[in-house]
Assembly symmetry: C2
Homo-oligomer: 87 residues x 2
């Protein structure tokens, strides 16, 4: 079975996020008020062949730990959904 | 009211994604088989003060069009959820 996997890798709370801070600083000058706590991370999507959703989740977790994220400074959120038939 | 907004900016289909291609090529050597269609994008999260969820969605869409994404080569998916009380 094929599963669609989405991995969201965000900096852990407390880790400096200069990209987010720059966006936040620029927003009022562009007419957007009331925006706080901007953080920028990565979103990685792929298709994974696996026996079951739990196996797919396990494989994705291993991939995150090994090289998709840096667990020292980043948190990874994984979501696995079964790929639509025909895709 | 405060809303949590997540914006996922991914390259449009057909646009070259060298980062995703590099990950995909590296995976078999690291022991992960059956992974295809790797695409890498950005995930941007922030809190937004707004009257209603629909207003928040509208503001986020404007932000995307103006500077969070490049509509020529990128698609943006916006999800708005009401922030939890106390956060």
């Amino acid at each position: 079975m094929t599963f669609d996997v989405q991995v969201e890798v965000m900096l852990r709370p407390g880790i400096a996020d200069p990209e987010g801070a720059t966006i936040e600083r620029a927003l009022p000058a562009l007419g957007f008020e009331g925006v706080t706590g901007v953080t920028v991370g990565k979103s990685i999507r792929f298709q994974l062949d696996s026996e079951s959703a739990s196996k797919a989740q396990e494989t994705a977790t291993q991939m995150c730990e090994q090289f998709l994220s840096n667990p020292v400074i980043e948190d990874a959120a994984i979501s696995v959904t079964q790929a639509q038939v025909g895709s």
